[in-house]
């Protein structure tokens, strides 16, 4: 079994912390996890959320001016 998730990566830890705080404040889903080796990122942490939250996360990143590396869809083995 596998699921598709949305991964947000950051160039530095401070971006990951800003993301977590913003998501908590705006009641968006997800959590910080170690960056999978298949994803290129500066920071060792990334935000993982259900794939269907991608649009809301993109809007949040723009609205809150969070410095990110990229947003990806990833197949995650269960």
């Amino acid at each position: 079994m596998a699921e598709t998730v949305c991964i947000v990566t950051f160039p530095a830890t401070v971006g990951a912390m800003a993301m977590e705080k913003a998501c908590r404040e705006e009641d968006l889903p997800g959590r910080l996890i170690p960056v999978p080796r298949s994803v290129t990122a500066g920071c060792g942490m990334c935000w993982m959320a259900p794939a269907d939250s991608r649009e809301a996360l993109e809007a949040l990143v723009i609205r809150r001016k969070i410095h990110i590396d990229g947003i990806y869809d990833m197949i995650r083995p269960r």
């Binding site: 160039p11 830890t13 401070v14 800003a18 910080l32 920071c43 060792g44």
Partner: protein, 379 residues
């Protein structure tokens, strides 16, 4: 014991500071090294502290608050990272060695440095900034307040000068953070260097620099950051650019608790209290025969410091007597401010510095004044 050496470090700290450090010692993993709960607890606490500092200093965001062990390292980073051989920098005679020695080193490496002179009363003339301007002047590095006299720099005037000539402006807030408003972005300050253990009431070993919008500082240190591990160069993103190595997370947890305390009490209330005590002490000793006070007390905008001498007595002997006979802790000597002592004519004698904090009381200020009166009468 009456502790009047708060310009060296405030004492005591609010109880919540020690509690936060103790909890962090138990709870913290290493911030930015891993995504497990313990590492995230540390990272969240450190991020919160960045946010609080950004608000306090009027910095554009938490990502531009870079931690360092103290303001000396922050000043080294700013000076070495902004200026180089061929650059001219203007500073003042008020500076602490934390500014002076990095500037002297810059000079030895081919930079140029000029100092706005202080007169025998410790005053500087702001017109001198313009007179010292050269075609290769790149910046101004100044203390916000003298750690010897407590006199405060007219930041807006210096910022206007810097803006008019396209200069970088590095401000040392060691004596003013937590006491006076800084408002760095609004005033156009390029870098604010701060310490955590004085007016912010945090633990020693905390401090840093806030970097203004568009200001690019070459990193002073390079090394492990927890990010971009395969890059051979230091990451360029702030604050990581300036933060090689594990942060003092435990200390920063204490600093965060101290900032909560400061926000609860309010900077305005702390300032009114501290300056009120300094003024109260000054008014009781300024006119005593044999007492000579340094600095400008015509203005209310000061750091809570009163430096004085008794006749020709060695300041170290006076401070020792204050402690042994009256149980009053002060700081004698040169205060790492050699240029201002020379200007004041106190290179040999030094001066006795009384500095006030939020946990001092009016009774303590009066007892200190009474002790000075006794010593003055014995001259």
């Amino acid at each position: 014991m009456i502790y009047l050496d708060n310009a060296a470090t405030t004492r005591p700290k609010p109880p919540a500071v020690g509690q936060a450090v103790l909890a962090a010692l138990d709870d913290f993993g290493n911030s930015g090294r891993g995504a497990h709960g313990e590492a995230l607890t540390a990272a969240r606490t450190i991020y919160d502290a960045r946010e609080k500092l950004a608000v306090l200093f009027g910095c554009s965001g938490p990502e531009r608050v870079c931690f360092a062990p103290n303001s000396t390292e922050a000043l080294n980073a700013a000076i070495a990272g902004l200026f180089g051989p061929g650059d001219h920098v203007i500073s003042t005679d008020w500076e602490h060695n934390s500014v002076l020695r990095p500037l002297y080193r810059l000079e030895a490496q081919g930079g140029e440095v000029d100092f706005v002179p202080a007169d025998s009363g410790g005053r500087i003339n702001y017109a001198d900034f313009e007179k010292l301007l050269k075609t290769n002047t790149r910046g101004v590095v100044c203390t916000h307040a003298s750690n010897l006299t407590g006199d405060v720099l007219d930041v807006d005037r210096v910022a206007t000068f810097c803006r008019a000539h396209g200069l970088l402006f590095v401000l040392d807030t060691s004596q003013t953070a937590g006491v006076l408003p800084i408002e760095m972005e609004m005033r156009g300050i390029s870098a604010v260097c701060f310490t955590g253990h004085k007016g912010l009431y945090g633990p020693q070993g905390t401090g840093g620099l806030c970097v203004g919008t568009g200001v690019e500082i070459r990193p002073f240190k390079v090394g492990g950051t927890g990010v971009q591990s395969f890059s051979e160069t230091q990451p360029q993103e702030y604050p990581t650019r300036m933060e090689a190595g594990t942060l003092n997370g435990h200390g920063i947890a204490g600093l965060g608790a101290a900032l909560d305390w400061l926000n609860e009490v309010s900077v305005e209330k702390v300032r009114a209290h501290d300056l009120g005590l300094a003024r109260r002490f000054y008014e009781r000793i300024a006119e005593l025969p044999g007492v000579r006070v340094y600095g400008d007390f015509w203005t209310e905008v000061r750091a809570p410091i009163v430096a004085l001498n008794l006749g020709e007595r060695d300041s170290a002997m006076v401070a020792d007597e204050l402690e042994q006979r009256f149980q009053i802790a002060t700081r004698p000597g040169a205060h790492c401010a050699p240029r201002l002592h020379r200007a004041l004519g106190t290179k040999e004698q030094g001066a006795v510095r009384f500095s006030f904090g939020y946990f001092n009381t009016a009774t303590e200020a009066d007892q200190a004044a009474a002790a000075v009166r006794t010593l003055a009468e014995e001259l």
